[in-house]
């Protein structure tokens, strides 16, 4: 684990945030959601969700299975558009712009909001190609040297470069689970997004790989706004500064992570995090 040892650098920010984790919530609001509803055909999945996502902090969505947290996450980058029969109501604003505005190009939105999925899904191409694909289709690189630069820096930021630097042309699917997930993170970063959405990114990984990804999230939040859906409360408690609890399609409670986990207001939240029969 030398790789982890090398990463321990106490920046002013990390000391401050360790002493006062909820300071993150004073940051400006990046994403504003108001009264978001989602219908899949006749069935309603989300009932009027309103929440603010702070800039350059980690916000986690927790809740039991089927509570709508993943559905809401997928509204933020309009991935629900790809599902037949899905209707989204309410407004979601990124930096003040309504993302469901017909004038807004979905492809551009998805370049600004990246996504990492539950099961690592690298493209069946080489590692280099996986990371280079995004910048290439969005025209972010002017030359091959530029593209190389982007690929290397993304892999570095994802903490994967040292492990794969001599095999960039090997298929991405040949890596271990944890490495594949970091490759997916590198791929998402390569496009230079402002927000990264993560849908249960560690649920398919072993504890060591999970810890490596959590460390990565800690580093990434200095530069990116991160929203993570997780079914592990302990992970939400470790990794996020703001937590929102969903239940049966409704947002029950949201607030600073340490408040939610030491002194939640609603009984439903309490019962869930304490493992009680509600």
């Amino acid at each position: 684990m030398d790789m982890l040892a090398g990463k321990v650098k106490l920046t002013q920010q990390s000391v401050t945030s360790a002493m006062n984790p909820s300071a993150a919530l004073d940051r400006p609001i990046r994403i504003e959601a108001r009264d978001v509803t989602v219908h899949y055909g006749a069935k309603q999945a989300l009932f009027g969700i309103s929440i603010d996502i702070p800039d350059r902090a980690v916000t986690s969505f927790i809740g039991p299975s089927g509570c709508g947290k993943s559905t809401f996450l997928r509204c933020i980058n309009r991935m629900n558009d790809t599902i037949e029969g899905a209707r989204v109501g309410g407004t979601i604003k990124l930096d003040g712009e309504d993302i469901y505005d017909p004038a807004l190009d979905v492809v551009e939105l998805r370049a600004r909001i990246g996504m990492v999925f539950q099961k690592p899904n690298p493209f069946p191409k080489s590692i280099y190609e996986n990371v280079a694909y995004g910048p290439r289709i969005h025209g972010l690189a002017r030359s091959k040297a530029d593209l190389d630069e982007i690929v290397v820096s993304s892999l570095r930021k994802a903490g994967l470069f040292e492990e794969v630097k001599d095999r960039l042309n090997e298929p991405g699917t040949g890596l271990s689970g944890g490495q594949q997930q970091r490759l997916c993170i590198a791929r998402a970063i390569a496009v230079g997004p402002e927000v990264i959405l993560m849908d249960e990114p560690c649920s398919a990984l072993d504890p060591i790989a999970t810890a490596i990804i959590e460390e990565l999230i800690d580093e990434l939040r200095e530069n990116y706004t991160i929203v993570i859906v997780t079914h592990s409360m302990q992970q939400a408690a470790r990794v996020s500064q703001k937590t929102a609890f969903f239940h049966l399609g409704k947002l029950i409670e949201e607030g600073a992570t340490e408040d939610i986990f030491t002194n939640p207001v609603h009984k439903q939240t309490q019962d869930y995090i304490m493992g009680r029969i509600g």
């Binding site: 980058n77 991935m79 790809t82 037949e84 492809v107 551009e108 939105l109 998805r110 370049a111 990246g114 996504m115 999925f117 099961k119 899904n121 690298p122 493209f123 069946p124 694909y133 995004g134 289709i137 969005h138 298929p171 997916c184 791929r187 998402a188 496009v191």
Partner: protein, 455 residues
């Protein structure tokens, strides 16, 4: 007491084991029966396939060997009494040279080259044999004279020289040598005269007549006048053109149609209707496509009859449903995770399909294409209806020329009256066709495994 608990548990477990064991014998027996039935079914199926191959091979192998005559041909100036070949430099203009050349060739064509042939044959006939000219000329193939003439035209310096030439034996001679015709039959039922038969035996004895590999089968076009030299080249090229047309047309159209139906078309009654129809089209008898081709391509669009282009178009229509269905199946098999990953990166739908989904489905599409083409290769009925049932003796230069196809050629040879000669030849042609199919299938398997390994 604790021990009572343990004994009770043990008894329970023993009872359970007894129950399981009593049913085990029956289950194992059922499994063995099922396995036996499976093996029997496979053996039966393979047995029939083996029977087909063995039968064809047995009949066809002899046709790969043909009798050749090795003659010393003297280009007798007495017989070839035309002037020297015109030289281009002697004439004022190319047109004049061509006219002179044409005249010279015509003069050569009018000569009786059979006399030269006869002379070289007589040289090899054992002394004292009584044989007429016609009988003698029934031994080599009838187009041998053309062969000699072509040699001379190509090389006029042969005048007055004697060179060794290999000439194909005639079909009847070949039958006699191979024993395809019953030697004990009387003269009335034999195709060759007794004298000719004796000479053939003599030729075989002294090495004038040998059996060699039947290159004619592969390098010549079909022939009715000279059956021994009938070959598959024309049919081959015709089939090749048609296969190329099928690949060039059916694959892009089929793949594009499948992609549109699967990825882009909105789910509606109309698309369901189209899907049902495509599935049904795959089961339509191929002769119906032939009728369609005759009606549309030949009657309405006035494309040339019996052209590989028309045949290719008809076969394309036939192969299209197969490719569409296979491509759709492959597209459905692509994991949604891959699509989501691509879309999440900000790829547009088209980019997602062409950069990510299609490469993954390429092995399946390739296999379906090659299998479709191999299937189309063997189709006869639709080709008959667009006019490819005629006898065509030249290699088609373009897909618009008249041509024939391998299966049609087989059909035509099967109908030839010289059964003794054409029976094995047909079998040989079938073996060639099967061989092409095996090669195509092998290519499909090889390419597929290569592509899958790369991914």
């Amino acid at each position: 007491m604790a021990t009572d608990h343990i004994t009770a548990a043990r008894e329970l477990s023993q009872e359970r084991t007894r129950l399981v064991r009593s049913g085990l014998r029956r289950r194992h027996r059922n499994e063995a029966i099922f396995r036996g039935l499976g093996i029997a079914a496979i053996a039966l199926a393979l047995g029939f396939v083996a029977l087909l191959f063995v039968d064809m091979t047995r009949k066809g192998i002899p046709a790969f060997v043909q009798s050749n005559l090795h003659l010393e041909v003297f280009f007798d100036p007495a017989i070839i009494d035309v002037g020297p070949a015109p030289v281009a430099s002697e004439f004022a203009s190319p047109a004049q040279y061509q006219a002179a050349d044409l005249r010279w060739r015509r003069e050569l064509a009018l000569l009786n080259w059979n006399r030269i042939l006869e002379a070289s044959l007589m040289a090899k006939v054992p002394a004292g044999t009584e044989i007429t000219s016609r009988e003698l000329l029934s031994i080599p193939e009838t187009n041998a004279r053309h062969q000699l003439r072509e040699m001379f035209v190509a090389n006029p310096d042969l005048l007055g020289r004697t060179i060794a030439v290999d000439i194909l034996a005639s079909a009847n001679a070949d039958n006699w040598v191979k024993g395809n015709i019953n030697r004990s039959l009387g003269d009335a039922q034999q195709q060759l005269s007794p004298a000719a038969r004796t000479v053939i035996d003599a030729f075989e004895a002294d090495g004038t007549l040998t059996n060699g590999f039947a290159w004619a089968l592969f390098t010549n076009t079909d022939s009715r006048a000279a059956p021994a030299s009938a070959g598959l080249l024309g049919a081959f090229v015709g089939s090749l053109y048609m296969m190329l047309i099928v690949i060039v047309l059916a694959v892009p159209i089929g793949v594009a149609a499948a992609i549109y139906l699967e990825e882009f078309a909105p789910k509606s009654r109309l698309t369901d209707f189209i899907e049902v129809n495509i599935n049904n089209l795959a089961a339509v008898p191929s002769i119906v496509f032939g009728l369609l081709g005759a009606a549309v391509f030949i009657n309405y669009m006035h494309l040339p009859i019996s052209a590989p282009l028309v045949g290719g178009l008809v076969l394309t229509l036939m192969t299209l449903p197969t490719i569409i269905i296979a491509t759709r199946g492959a597209l459905l098999g692509v994991s949604p995770a891959l699509r989501q990953a691509a879309l999440g990166m900000g790829a547009s739908k088209t980019q997602m399909v062409f950069h990510h989904v299609l490469p993954v489905t390429l092995p399946s599409i390739l296999t379906a294409t090659i299998l479709g083409v191999a299937h189309a290769l063997g189709e006869t009925a639709p080709l008959l209806l667009i006019g490819m049932k005629a006898f065509v003796a030249q290699v088609p230069a373009t897909p618009l020329d008249q041509a024939t196809a391998l299966p049609v050629q087989i059909y035509l040879w099967q109908g030839n009256e010289n059964r003794n000669f054409f029976e094995p030849r047909t079998a040989a042609a079938i073996m060639v066709l099967l061989g092409v199919m095996i090669v195509l299938n092998g290519t499909a398997i090889y390419l597929r495994s290569r592509l899958e390994k790369r991914v």
